[in-house]
């Protein structure tokens, strides 16, 4: 057995134990590796007859590391039926880790080892396999091969003319045409569609016949039979309307189908182009107009009402309402102001107001750029049932070719019809078979669903999320920021002494300058009530304890009991009892002392999201067990889980404990959907069958998870689930349709009812039926673009209270 050696670079190794872990993982697939820890360079030795480079890569990943990879996107002229063979052949090439082909966009994504091969070499090698490929640059993706409209139109008209005239003629309604007319028409149609015929023959030569191969064979068989009868070997009326009709109908059908498919991706292109444009940037005290991607992070950009924001950043001056529907699917504009240092994202629109934004990310680093990239990526993943369909399609075309030969032989030898008619049956079988929907049914549905999801405020990173989320039987929620808003808010100010107005004024003034998150909660509470503030004369901040301020000549202490005691202020027993009660319920409590007397108790709590209860019960109704996993105290966790009706609680967990919990449950055979923070819960998100990150509105590219709820609304999880059900339904509908269509029409075309009922499906009508079936499938998938989950209650937005107060 010949062993292969491949030089690779491992990312993330820094200790001998890492090496051990990798070697252990590799030994399971019969490979071994020598690694230089300092550089990560390694030589892997494996048996190419049993192991692929992609298996090596997977083994390294399973050990928790990764190999350095380059990636390459190719546009390939390939029919969906050939996808599997293509992927297999390419992933066996030297230095190639993986190859995924998306029939929806005609693009193949190849990851390779930059240490042993180059994009050029791969391109050559793929061409060497007999495929017509082209490297695609970002900008060129749009420019796809497109036939001028007149070709399919003319083909269709000529085909229709030939078919209709032939039909009228056979009923004796029209005088026979001069002999050369139909042959000439047929020849012209073939010439017009020479590219289709050439592709059909080419894929046949590669031993991976496609729908185009079948159509080509069908037309050529009939054409040959026609030529034979012209030369007098056969008699019977011509055969030339068959190739004219078949190719004419197919040509027009393909054209319609291509147009429809492109429409699905228009949204994506529109999204991508919403990133480009000019911005006004402040440089050296002057306003300069530059391209959006020329802005450097840290520079300040001016945005006027009605303009699109073209950088990610923070509002540093002014205020306004921003339409964030690109990310959230939520049409109501959101209030953004410099006071709150709100984050704005590229691709959103300033509806009214005037703001200056300090850019934090520009060009290809923005969240929007990342969303677009992810959506493109997602279509390369194939759900499990698509892999099955791919395999079936590979055999189906061969089976059809074999069947048509058998049909011809049967009718010519035993059926007692002329050779010409036998050829017609054979041609009909070839033309009627519609393998296309099988290949395109699922990928197109997934690609469109990914795009639809973006509109709903869900970024889907892997196409199989739709399939996996439906399989989940356990859902684990993180608490802070997932089930709760993730931002403390004042729940109650318990008055102990003095008038409310009085105490609140001192409290708000004292906290006016503090930057602590709890102080922010107090300030929000104050501004909601429109309280008037006084600038403190003296202000002292004690980290971790609280503040001391002098307001209107009165000393105000806001902080923990410890701080109050240090100032010699006694906390009454009654107040203490109340405080410990609130603490047990998971709140944070601090005291306000005015002039040396404890005047109030402030209860701060992270608010539960309004939609949380509905989301939890949605999953429980479907028999999915709901679990809460949090780093917070047991008291806080239990109080919220009781409120939301959660089945099981795990408190005081570190992020790695959550990952362990996921792993444990999955070892027990449970399928876990983890919903949590995209940054802190990354380990758990990656271990779960499906990891969904709660988008924080910040850097989407840094968030882990198979899907990210960019809307920042937990309800989007339900939308994703519903969309997934729809995906499954559409995919199954398409597959069922494709199977049923073939199962019924193939026997008819073969002449099963010819003797009994006299029913014959002529090849040109067979081709029309095939195209109609194809278009049905595409249309069915496209109908998903219009899908809307349902109207959400206004104000179900997180942080909505703050926004509405300004409205």
């Amino acid at each position: 057995m010949a062993l292969a050696r491949e030089k690779v670079r491992v990312v993330g190794v820094d200790c001998p134990t890492c090496v051990l872990a990798i070697q252990k993982s590799l030994s399971r697939i019969g490979a071994s590796m020598d690694i230089d820890i300092a550089t990560g360079e390694a030589v892997v030795v494996y048996d190419p007859s049993r192991t692929l480079l992609s298996d090596v890569s997977r083994a390294v990943r399973e050990a928790g590391y990764d190999l350095e990879k380059g990636s390459l996107t190719l546009s390939v002229e390939l029919e969906p039926e050939e996808a599997l063979t293509f992927e297999k052949k390419v992933s066996r090439l030297r230095g190639v880790f993986s190859c995924h082909f998306s029939p929806a966009s005609g693009l193949a994504k190849i990851t390779y080892n930059p240490l042993t091969t180059t994009p050029r070499e791969i391109l050559e090698a793929v061409r060497g396999l007999g495929y017509a490929v082209q490297e695609v640059q970002e900008a060129e993706r749009r420019a796809e091969r497109e036939k001028p409209t007149w070709i399919p139109l003319l083909s269709f008209s000529l085909g229709l003319f030939a078919v209709v005239y032939h039909a009228l003629e056979s009923f004796g309604l029209t005088p026979p045409l001069p002999t050369p007319v139909l042959p000439v028409v047929a020849t012209v149609v073939i010439l017009l569609n020479l590219d289709l015929v050439a592709r059909g023959v080419r894929s046949l030569a590669r031993l991976a016949p496609t729908m185009e191969s079948l159509v080509t064979l069908s037309s050529l068989v009939a054409y040959a039979a026609g030529v034979a009868s012209l030369l007098g070997y056969q008699h019977g009326s011509g055969m030339f309307e068959v190739p004219a009709g078949v190719l004419g109908f197919v040509s027009a059908g393909r054209y319609i189908e291509d147009r429809m498919r492109k429409r699905a991706f228009d949204y994506l292109y529109a999204l991508a182009s919403s990133q480009a444009g000019k911005v006004r940037v402040l440089r050296g005290g002057e306003v300069k107009v530059v391209e959006a991607d020329e802005v450097k992070p840290g520079e300040v950009v001016e945005v006027r009402a009605g303009e699109r924001i073209l950088v990610d950043g923070v509002v540093v001056e002014g205020w306004g309402y921003v339409d964030e529907s690109t990310f959230t699917g939520e049409p109501t504009p959101v209030f953004k102001s410099s006071e709150r240092r709100d984050v704005v994202l590229s691709g959103t629109v300033l509806v009214s107001g005037f703001i200056k934004v300090r850019a934090t990310r520009v060009g290809r680093d923005t969240s929007l750029a990342h969303v677009i990239e992810s959506v493109r990526e997602a279509q390369f993943y194939k759900p499990r049932f698509q892999r099955l369909a791919d395999r079936v399609v590979g055999y189906l075309t061969w089976a059809v070719i074999a069947l048509s030969v058998a049909v011809f032989a049967y009718w010519a030898a035993l059926g007692g019809v002329s050779v010409g008619e036998a050829a017609l049956f054979a041609a009909a079988v070839l033309a009627v078979t519609c393998p296309c929907p099988l290949g395109i049914a699922v990928p197109l549905v997934v690609a469109i669903a990914t795009i639809s999801a973006t509109k709903l405020g869900v970024l889907v990173r892997r196409g199989d999320v739709f399939e996996r989320i439906l399989a989940a039987d356990t859902v684990i929620f993180d608490k802070t920021g997932t089930l709760t808003v993730g931002k403390p808010a004042v729940q109650e100010v318990v008055l102990l002494d003095g008038s409310a107005e009085h105490v609140l004024k001192y409290l708000c003034s004292a906290e006016y300058r503090s930057e602590h998150p709890l102080a922010a909660a107090v300030r929000e509470y104050c501004s909601e009530r429109g309280l008037e503030l006084a600038e403190p004369e003296r202000y002292e901040h004690f980290p971790g304890l609280g503040v001391l301020a002098r307001v209107d000549g009165v000393d105000v202490v806001v902080g923990s009991r410890k701080l109050l005691e240090a100032f010699g202020i006694q906390v009454a027993l009654e107040a203490e009892q109340r405080a410990s009660e609130e603490l047990r319920r998971g709140s944070t409590v601090f005291y306000v002392a005015v002039g040396g007397r404890v005047s109030a108790l402030v209860v701060v709590r992270d608010r539960v999201r309004e939609e949380a209860a509905g989301v939890v019960s949605f999953f429980r109704e479907r028999g999915v067990r709901a679990i809460l996993a949090t780093g917070d105290s047991k008291g806080a966790a239990e109080s919220i889980s009781a409120e939301l009706g959660i089945d099981e609680v795990h408190a005081e967990l570190r992020p790695e404990d959550k990952a362990e919990l996921v792993e444990e449950l999955q070892q027990q055979g449970r399928k876990v959907l983890f919903v949590g923070d995209g940054v802190n819960d990354a380990p758990a998100l990656s271990k779960a069958l499906v990891g969904v990150a709660m988008g924080s509105g910040a850097d989407i590219s840094k968030e882990a998870g198979d899907a990210v709820l960019t809307s920042g609304n937990l309800e989007s999880l339900v939308d994703l689930y519903r969309l997934s059900s729809l995906v499954r339904r559409k995919a199954l509908q398409n597959l069922a349709w494709a199977f049923a269509y073939n199962a019924i029409l193939v026997p008819v075309a073969a002449g099963a009812f010819w003797k009994t009922l006299g029913v014959m499906l002529r090849p040109e009508f067979a081709a029309a039926a095939m195209m109609a079936s194809d278009i049905t499938v595409v249309a069915n998938a496209l109908s998903m673009l219009r899908w809307r989950p349902r109207v959400r209650a206004p104000g179900a937005r997180p942080g909505g209270s703050a926004d509405s107060s300004h409205a």
């Binding site: 003296r538 002292e540 901040h541 004690f542 980290p543 304890l545 001391l548 701080l563 240090a566 100032f567 010699g568």
Partner: protein
């Protein structure tokens, strides 16, 4: 506010800028460093009684 004397090391401290402060029996004390603050909080009575002892060691 201005200046105050670090009760541990005796250095003059800007009360508005130093982040190191502590409260003891109702009065606020300012420090030049975390080190001094810790030393004070360990035994405030000692420093208030004996006055600044120079930079603490150990």
């Amino acid at each position: 506010m201005g200046k105050a004397v670090d009760p541990v090391c005796g250095m003059e401290v800007d009360t508005e800028r130093t982040p190191y402060r502590s409260v003891y029996k109702g009065s606020v004390y300012y420090f030049c460093s975390q080190h001094c603050k810790k030393a004070f909080e360990k035994d405030p009575g000692f420093y208030l009684k004996h006055g600044p002892a120079g930079m603490p060691h150990g």
